[in-house]
């Protein structure tokens, strides 16, 4: 598995400038890596829809933000996501913590959150890739490098 430092390093190497986020219990462990990296500015927002609005302003202004949030917040933020990706046509990049995904795969949870993540990403027409249980720092770097070379909307789904 990869660490917060791996993510921060990959973001920096791909020339990201800002992390706009609301953490969950998994993503939250990455905070120290973001705040200690001088190449990244951490922007804390109050609700997930805001994260997409802030990211849109940053992208229009020539910056390279990454939005990092949990799937529950993603669901709430649908209108903002729709606007940024499909109205403003900006190359939004996000990392989404999918709560309960690993337990869901084993049929070991009643959490409905993981059940709806992929259908919603498909309905909103946002391309996504999984970073699964065995994903490594190399996988994170590769995904971000691909995004950097071909900037278009992309969600990296983090299996939690």
């Amino acid at each position: 598995m990869f660490t917060g430092s791996d993510v921060a390093n990959a973001l920096r190497d791909a020339q990201f400038t800002h992390v706009v986020w609301i953490p969950d219990s998994t993503l939250g462990t990455w905070e120290a890596a973001f705040t200690s990296d001088p190449a990244l500015r951490l922007v804390r927002v109050s609700r997930e829809g805001e994260a997409f609005g802030v990211a849109a302003g940053l992208m229009i202004g020539g910056q390279r933000p990454a939005v990092i949030l949990q799937c529950t917040g993603l669901f709430e933020a649908g209108d903002a996501l729709r606007n940024v990706v499909h109205d403003l046509k900006l190359p939004l990049f996000m990392m989404v913590g999918v709560r309960g995904w690993l337990a869901h795969l084993k049929g070991a949870t009643n959490d409905t959150c993981p059940r709806f993540v992929e259908p919603i990403m498909q309905a909103w027409q946002v391309p996504y890739q999984w970073l699964g249980e065995n994903a490594t720092a190399k996988d994170v770097h590769a995904a971000l490098k691909t995004y950097r070379q071909h900037p278009q909307p992309l969600a990296l789904l983090i299996a939690e």
């Binding site: 804390r44 927002v45 109050s46 805001e50 302003g57 229009i60 202004g61 020539g62 109205d87």
Partner: protein, 187 residues
């Protein structure tokens, strides 16, 4: 109270070099006062997200002032942004034009119309400066001060409600809006 046009005329006289992000009813009215590369008609928009977009713009170019022409309905949809904005000392001037109704949907009252004090909410969220103007003359007298200096600043204006308004149209396609704004921000 003042009319929307009266309120915007004061903004136009005192906006200096600031960007102006207009949303909802202001999208239709603001181009009559200014329609330059520094003016962004945020439509189609995401509900309540104009202040969030403004934060991203202000972070992109240090020192660049950004005025947001917001409505009370839009402000209610994203009250959390007050706490978000208050974290940063950036020249963001958030104007809430409070007419107590959703103008573009036919004039239905907003939740808490006439009772919600947006200036007090912003102050409680940590804004260092807030203003509340009931009359145009008072707004005109203080606009130069309110729209300059460190921010964020929240300004509430009491606006006469209008009924029978149509959904406004932006002056040009979004792609062109973004291109124009980028030419300012990345120059």
């Amino acid at each position: 109270m003042m009319t929307l046009d009266e309120a915007l005329a004061v903004v136009a006289r005192h906006r200096q070099n600031h960007l102006v992000v207009a949303t909802m009813a202001a999208v239709g009215a603001w181009p009559a006062f200014s329609d330059t590369h520094r003016d962004f008609a945020y439509m189609p928009s995401s509900m309540g997200q104009a202040p969030s977009l403004a934060l991203g713009l202000a972070m992109s170019k240090p020192g660049q002032g950004v005025i947001v022409l917001n409505g009370d309905g839009s402000m209610l949809m994203n009250l959390g942004v007050l706490a978000t904005l208050s974290q940063y000392t950036l020249p963001i001037y958030l104007i809430v034009m409070d007419n107590g109704l959703y103008e573009v949907t036919g004039g239905q009252p907003t939740a808490g119309a006439g009772r919600v004090d947006f200036a007090a909410l912003a102050k409680a969220a940590g804004f260092p400066r807030v203003y509340h103007f009931l009359e145009r003359t008072d707004w005109e007298a203080k606009a130069a001060e309110a729209l300059s200096g460190p921010g964020p600043v929240l300004i509430t204006l009491a606006i006469e409600p209008r009924l029978g308004q149509k959904t406004p149209r932006p002056p040009r396609p979004m792609e062109d809006q973004i291109q124009r704004l980028r030419s300012v921000l990345q120059s």
